[in-house]
Symmetry: C2
Subunit: 249 residues, 2 copies
């Protein structure tokens, strides 16, 4: 759906085993795929089922049409040659179009994820969890920046032109989204935290839209999987609410 900015988050928690998790994923894909531009499995919820869960991830690629992005939420961050092995796992083995990356270890830890033409990496900036205040919101460097702002500025220097660079900003803090958008006028922003985490959908999207009224992807997991009205109706409603924000610009 090129006109949707909604992303289906797949966090199959609470299944009895990997087969149960896989069934949950397919139920959600069947219900929500027509309303989303991307699908974002978080690897933790598959790895908790061991190699059987990892095998579910291997099979997911085939269930996602080529006109939807597969964003693997892995938040890997390790040094150079190790990051290259993670990039092989995520891009080559699991077939990701894009991945999330933890930038704490700096340039060489991110480089392998930005070296793939046609693929992309979303760098973590200001996340939606309480612990984001511990380091990401703290002063960093000597010029009044806080750490998440410094990450955005530094990451632009890593942009090699090989793959696409984007940024993750929690929907719970629209002011941070606006701050990141000001620094990167045209980079795609991934805005998790809507729904169960309480992020305000409309304010987050409005803060993140670029000059073409696009440039954001809004992943929702529990807000679709656990919705009282069912996942298809929930996804349709979320998609329409995002569209209304775009139209109001």
């Amino acid at each position: 759906m090129s006109d949707s900015l909604l992303c289906l988050g797949l966090d199959p928690d609470g299944a009895v085993d990997a087969a149960g998790a896989e069934r949950v994923c397919h139920v959600l894909l069947d219900a929500a795929l027509e309303h989303v531009c991307a699908v974002k499995p978080n690897l933790a919820f598959f790895e908790q089922y061991g190699s059987s869960g990892y095998a579910v991830l291997e099979r997911l690629r085939a269930a996602i049409p080529p006109d939807r992005l597969l964003i693997l939420d892995a938040k890997r961050g390790d040094m150079g040659n190790t990051a290259a092995a993670y990039a092989r796992a995520l891009f080559d083995v699991l077939g990701a179009d894009a991945v999330t990356v933890n930038p704490l270890l700096g340039g060489d830890s991110v480089a392998p994820f930005l070296a793939r033409p046609g693929r992309g990496a979303f760098i973590l900036t200001r996340t939606s969890n309480p612990g984001a205040e511990d380091f990401l919101d703290q002063p960093a460097g000597r010029d009044g920046q806080v750490l998440y702002q410094r990450i955005v500025d530094q990451a632009q220097e890593w942009d090699s032109g090989g793959g696409a660079i984007g940024f993750v900003v929690g929907a719970t803090v629209p002011t941070a989204i606006a701050e990141v958008r000001r620094r990167v006028p045209s980079a795609p922003l991934l805005l998790p935290g809507v729904g169960a985490q309480g992020g305000p959908l409309e304010a987050a999207v409005a803060a993140g839209l670029d000059s073409t009224r696009a440039g954001v992807v809004v992943p929702v997991s529990r807000g679709i999987a656990g919705a009282a009205q069912g996942p298809a109706a929930a996804a349709r409603e979320l998609r329409e609410r995002i569209a209304a924000v775009r139209a109001a610009g």
Copy 2:
């Protein structure tokens, strides 16, 4: 080996497939196990072989005697409920005694790894890679600290008494090891970066030893697997060099 502070790093890169990686691991375990106190697989080098590689990790636990620690080098870092799923994967499915954790996302991202009695988490501080200069070495907070120092101070407040807390400090920067040791007189320190990365073994160990001339674990991967004299002789020599530093105190 309770008198050894050497740890066998398992980074089976360059094998043709997961079965080849598993064979490499067992050759190294057979050669080096008698000289080490712990074994540290880095998950990236298994995940690059997909679910078959993850299954190798599942089987490794059985090859490691109960008197050696299994330290899973996963560097996971995700928010609360997701971190809990990673903790289940690493502790319950893969049987880790300890794990490495990326603290960028703050307290709730680390808490599930510190909640297990009898298990432990090593928090990343100043890593051994070039990119550590990008953020970890930069001023953080308002009191002249740099980020890796702030991480150490903050992490001590997270220590719940449930599981053991330790810290990862790259062996390439002995001054950082001494700085961390000054802040945490009795926490175990994991000191990667000896060997292929050029960290000075003797200086790193001397900087990290606690008041009982223990409290450090020195993982070596390529310096054992790729040693000209073979892995058994390399592990013996490394163990003896570490023991000489302890005896010189």
